[in-house]
Symmetry: C2
């Protein structure tokens, strides 16, 4: 094992991060290319393959790379395709991503899935979920993503798209419109975007004093900073967000009875404000057999490496 390596690629809307990783989960070398300067997939894949080859050469791992794991929006594990990815200029129709990349890499095997599933595999292989066979990964970023692991395997479902827990109902009546077009989705409340929306909404609906009133635009990071300074409104926003998350987690537990729920992503940095309301609402809404039994834990992967590590972990299974 020590003498083989994998490549992890995290395809984001703006950039694609590439890393060479060893079996202990150390990123030996990494680089980045633009994602958003290509309208067509072929030239993008050509540059991506060049960058991977160069990185392998630089890290002295030629001939020892077992495979490539890729995390990408709407990546389908079964088919190796990316389809209908609104944030990828070249990925709006159906793209045979794994096949194209494998060909460009001289036949090296490629495994693809979406970013949240990749994060779950990463956490299971190198992080907070090591040794766990049943857990749910929730990524709290711009959106809310999820990767569900049952019996040690990521759940892909009938079509490869399972695990869209960000689009389950958190609010049933008069819910906010979500980016997906539905209303009341968990993502519309419990993402970084959702927290900023809550702040703007509450500032408008009340006269409550808050340092947030002094800002021209509000991002979730501002709410976090305000909460750290003890701003009461900001604290209440995290209380509300945590409660929404915990109530949803209770239903997720009823589905797959996980050992833990693992949180990851920019918003998860606010754990000192989120953990208590999450656990309270979760335990208030589960069947008694699960009360105080399911752990809420946070990613243990270094944030700058996490996306690459998650994607790379897929490749160990090739």
């Amino acid at each position: 094992m020590d003498s083989t390596f994998v490549v992890g690629i995290d395809v984001g809307g703006q950039t694609s991060k590439i890393g060479v990783v060893n079996a202990r989960g150390t990123v030996l070398a990494q680089t980045v290319i633009r994602t958003d300067t290509y309208d067509q997939v072929e030239p993008y894949i050509a540059e991506l393959a060049e960058a991977v080859k160069k990185l392998i050469a630089e890290s002295g791992t030629e001939g020892k790379v077992r495979g490539i794991g890729v995390g990408a929006p709407n990546g389908n594990y079964y088919t190796g395709t990316i389809e209908n990815a609104p944030n990828l200029p070249w990925g709006r129709s159906r793209v045979e991503f794994s096949k194209l990349l494998s060909e460009a890499m001289g036949g090296l095997p490629v495994a693809l899935t979406n970013d949240a599933n990749a994060a779950a595999v990463g956490e299971m292989t190198y992080g907070a979920a090591r040794g766990m066979k049943n857990f749910i990964m929730i990524t709290l970023g711009t959106g809310v993503g999820s990767g569900i692991v049952i019996n040690g395997e990521v759940v892909y479902g009938h079509d490869g798209f399972a695990g869209e827990l960000g689009h389950t109902a958190a609010v049933l009546n008069n819910g906010r419109t979500c980016g997906c077009g539905k209303t009341g989705c968990l993502e519309a409340y419990a993402s970084a975007t959702g927290v900023a929306r809550t702040a703007r909404e509450w500032l408008e609906l009340s006269d409550e004093p808050s340092v947030l009133r002094n800002l021209d635009t509000i991002a979730s990071k501002d709410v976090y900073e305000a909460a750290k300074e003890g701003d009461k409104l900001a604290l209440k926003i995290f209380e509300f967000t945590g409660k929404i998350l915990g109530r949803s987690f209770a239903d997720f537990i009823a589905f797959s009875a996980p050992e833990a729920i693992v949180l990851f992503g920019g918003l998860a940095r606010a754990k000192e404000f989120l953990t208590a309301p999450i656990e309270e609402a979760m335990n208030a809404n589960v069947l008694s057999l699960w009360k105080n039994k399911v752990k809420v834990v946070y990613s243990e992967l270094k944030e700058s490496d996490a996306a690459i590590l998650g994607a790379s972990a897929l490749a160990w299974e090739l």
Copy 2:
């Protein structure tokens, strides 16, 4: 395969049904004993084993029975135990069911799970889910049970109790109190009991004429009969029930992306009134990638045999 057999046992609150089943899913012989006349598990198991042995002898399958599958309330697949089963006088504390029965049967292997999981295995082995690797079984009886199949395997979760979808939130504010002690559970609305509650609630809250007003007590069967006669209130009750189910199914789909949702149980008999509102609400609440893609189908097992068949199917996996 043709020359081996399995035994299926459905442990209910009042009676336990026992059947000898062949590989085609034909119940060759069946019998029944009381469940509710025993305070202690030992004498119950002794009579159960006697009845099984007698049935095996009568059906001429001695020496050809591969194992015993049991579906029972709160049956735990991992541990073979029944615990905290409020409707089983001898099952209120922890009972080593599989071990006791196997010993009483001279070491014949015994597999145990809850009734809804057994129903899912039955449907996958002999019924509407044959050939499916990803589906969700929903049992609409006195309560709402569920058995989730992912990649051809029942989901048991970390503790063996996964798949309690009847206790996910169908109503978030001012929901009805459920038998489990929580409020707003799907089971409080979409079970046979829930339908009767809806009827009683609506009769009290409106003056709308309905044949249901003439009845002293109302069961879901009465609502069904009234709907068949065209009673408007009864029809609206099924519309409401189907909508609640469909909206919940949309969230279940986001979890495991099943090929189908399979409905079973007494209330599922009202399919002519339930299917349209279920499908409408389900498709209105899923992400667009699943719209009109997930089938809603009904059990194909003969109702009198279904519980035995479901339990028996477990034993083929022993």
